[in-house]
Structures are given as structure tokens and as C-alpha cells.
Symmetry: C2
Subunit: 213 residues, 2 copies
């Protein structure tokens, strides 16, 4: 009987803990009127190495994802970022304090992939990068390119990752967020954590946060 | 005597033709107040395949070059486009009707490299691309990366080309110009024409023009 009550208590604890993590973050619609002009944003653009630890507002998080690689023409299923042979190979995994989320661009939501704070494996030896409330890890699935050998596909994946990364940099410069593109991260640990397939390659990452005062 | 006059006449013709080609195009200062916001530009962004043949205005040409990879922080010698280990490896060659020009970002001028219309070798089999008044060919000089083996450097070069290309796409979307990123071009002919070294690699190109009505 004691075992029975203990079991119920553990189940209750598990459910309680479980419910604290959002399985799905419904993002706000993009605010296309906010921020600086492209030319003004490019005048401001600079790679920032340090970030405030406070969380992004829901609107900032929403607009960040959409600007990076959101759907801007739903009828044609097209995106803010072009891609080689329209392969739409780049997925964004948002590493945040509570967990790692997958950006489902067509539903404009973040879906929980793994619970827990794993920003340190993206930061690697540059441990202070893990201060950023969101680190966008850009993963290319090269199987979405319908032709080309592996070398060709990896080159396309790198072009496409650079394109999405620059959407992030330009968006951040337009609304006063800090970011920078980074090629370094603990790739094998990320592949294991996210259970990526052989055709999915972490290419670049962009930590994003408010500027450190 | 007849030969002498013929010779003078030919020299005169040559000099006249020569003087019609601008050796140097001094660009206007960037107009950082023009155009749409970044978010609005991203809502508009789409890859356009066809272009009007009319030339860009000097302000559009100037802002295009600056937005793509201009100097936005002259004191620190930094650019609108970030690059791997700040290698600043991407050079822009502007293929135009009169000739091919090199964008000297620090002097913000275009310098004539080769006289003549060579847009067709960038267009390749997509011959209509040569209608665009400017085709920006993004060339990485991987020797500017101070470390890394060739595979590593080529990956960085591809990220950096994607980044510059997206600056072009976002700028164009902000001011009503048409563009798209292209990986296809006649690379060997471009290398020969521009007399590129073994460390200089044409990576991507962006034709730019006014939209075809």
C-alpha cells in the first residue's frame, strides 16, 4: 500500500513538473511595421559577443523566428529566406533556458524537442554565449535537395545557412537586439541531443539577446 | 603616308572608345533613410527571375554595393556583412553592360577590371539573366582566413557568400529592386576573365534590376 501511494506521489510530481514546460509556444503574428529601415539596420549591424540574460518578449521571439526563415507567402509556401533549388533545407532549433524548441514555420509555433538547458553545448568554450536567452541553431537537412552529390549539397547547405543567419543579423539590427553568426559549437553533442539523422547537419548558430548594458 | 594617317586615325578611334568607358565609378554616399523597414522588406522578399534591362540609377547602384558588403564602421574597418573570423573574404564584381567592375568597399568606388559585356558567362544557360543591368558576382578569397584547411575555408566562404547575398536580397526588397541568389554560372570562364588566383573562388551571383512590368 505504501508503494502504491509513493507511486501515485511520484506520478503527481512528474505531471506537475511536466506541466511547467510549454510543449508548444504559439507565436505572435509578425509585426511588419516595426523597426528601422534595411539601410538604417545595415548601418547599425555589428557582431555582438555578449548578451543580457533576460528573456526575449514573445513579440521579439516571434518576429525573430519569422524574420529568420518564416513563411511570407503562405499560398506558395515560400519563405523570407531563399534556398538552393527551393529546397527549404534550413530548420531552426531554438536553444532556450527551459528546453530546445523546433521552429515549425508553417504553423508559426515553437515545438518542444528536449526539456532542459543545453545552451552550453552550443556555446562550447565561449561559455558566456550561453547567457543569451535564445541561441538559434541552423540545421540543414540536405535530403531536401532533390539532386546533387553530397559535396554539392553541403555547399548549398552552407549558402542557405549564411542566408538565414543574415536574416537574423539584419532583423536584430533593426530592433536593437544583439547577435552574431558562429560556426563553432559542439556538433556531435547537438546531433545526439536532437536525435538528428545522417542528412541533418548543424551549420551555424546565432545567439540572440538584448544588448548587455 | 597613307599608312601614317590610317595609324593616327585608328589611334584616335581607340582613344575615343577608351574614354567612353569609365575607369572608375565614384559611388554616392549610402542613403540610410530610404526604403522599407526590415520586417516589411522580409514580407516582400521573393526570388525574381526576370529583370528590366534599364540601368540602375547611381543611387541604387551605390546603395546596392554598400548594403551588400560596404564599410559601415570606417574606424574599425568593419562591414555590413559579418564574415568568418572577420576574414572579409567576399569581393563583389559587378558585371555591367560596359564592363566588369570591382567594388572597392573602403574607397566606395567601382574600379574597371575588364571592358566589355560579359554578363552572358554569369547567366550561362539561363540567358535571360543577362538582361539584368548589374550582376553581382561574389568571389571569396580564402587566403584571407588566417587559419583552417581548404575544406574548412571553403565552408566559411560559402557561409560568407550566403550572408552577402542575403544583404542584397533584403536591400532589393526594401527599395523595389528585383534579385535572386544563383549558384550556377560559368565559373572557369569567370576565373579566366578576371584573372583570379588559385585562392579566389566565385561562389554565388545575384542579378539585380528593376522588376519587369
Amino acid at each position: 500500500m505504501k508503494t502504491f501511494y509513493t507511486s501515485i506521489f511520484i506520478t503527481f510530481l512528474t505531471l506537475t513538473t511536466f506541466s511547467q514546460i510549454q510543449q508548444k509556444i504559439v507565436l505572435n503574428q509578425p509585426d511588419t511595421s516595426r523597426g528601422y529601415t534595411v539601410m538604417h539596420a545595415l548601418a547599425n549591424r555589428a557582431s555582438e559577443k555578449e548578451y543580457d540574460t533576460i528573456n526575449l518578449s514573445l513579440q521579439d521571439l516571434s518576429d525573430l523566428m519569422w524574420a529568420a526563415n518564416g513563411v511570407n507567402r503562405p499560398e506558395e509556401k515560400n519563405r523570407t529566406a531563399p534556398s538552393a533549388i527551393n529546397g527549404q533545407d534550413i530548420d531552426i532549433y531554438a536553444f532556450m533556458i527551459d528546453g530546445v524548441y523546433f521552429y515549425n514555420a508553417f504553423d508559426h509555433i515553437l515545438e518542444l524537442v528536449v526539456e532542459g538547458d543545453y545552451r552550453d553545448i552550443v556555446a562550447g568554450s565561449q561559455y558566456w554565449v550561453a547567457d543569451a536567452p535564445v541561441i538559434c541553431v541552423l540545421v540543414s537537412d540536405i535530403s531536401r535537395f532533390k539532386f546533387g552529390d553530397d559535396d554539392q549539397r553541403m555547399l548549398w547547405a552552407a549558402f542557405d545557412a549564411g542566408i538565414v543567419s543574415q536574416n537574423i543579423s539584419v532583423f536584430c539590427a533593426s530592433v536593437g537586439l544583439a547577435t552574431r553568426p558562429r560556426a563553432s559549437m559542439e556538433i556531435d553533442k547537438i546531433i545526439d541531443l536532437l536525435n538528428l539523422t545522417e542528412t541533418q547537419h548543424p551549420m551555424l548558430n546565432n545567439p540572440v539577446g538584448y544588448p548587455l548594458k
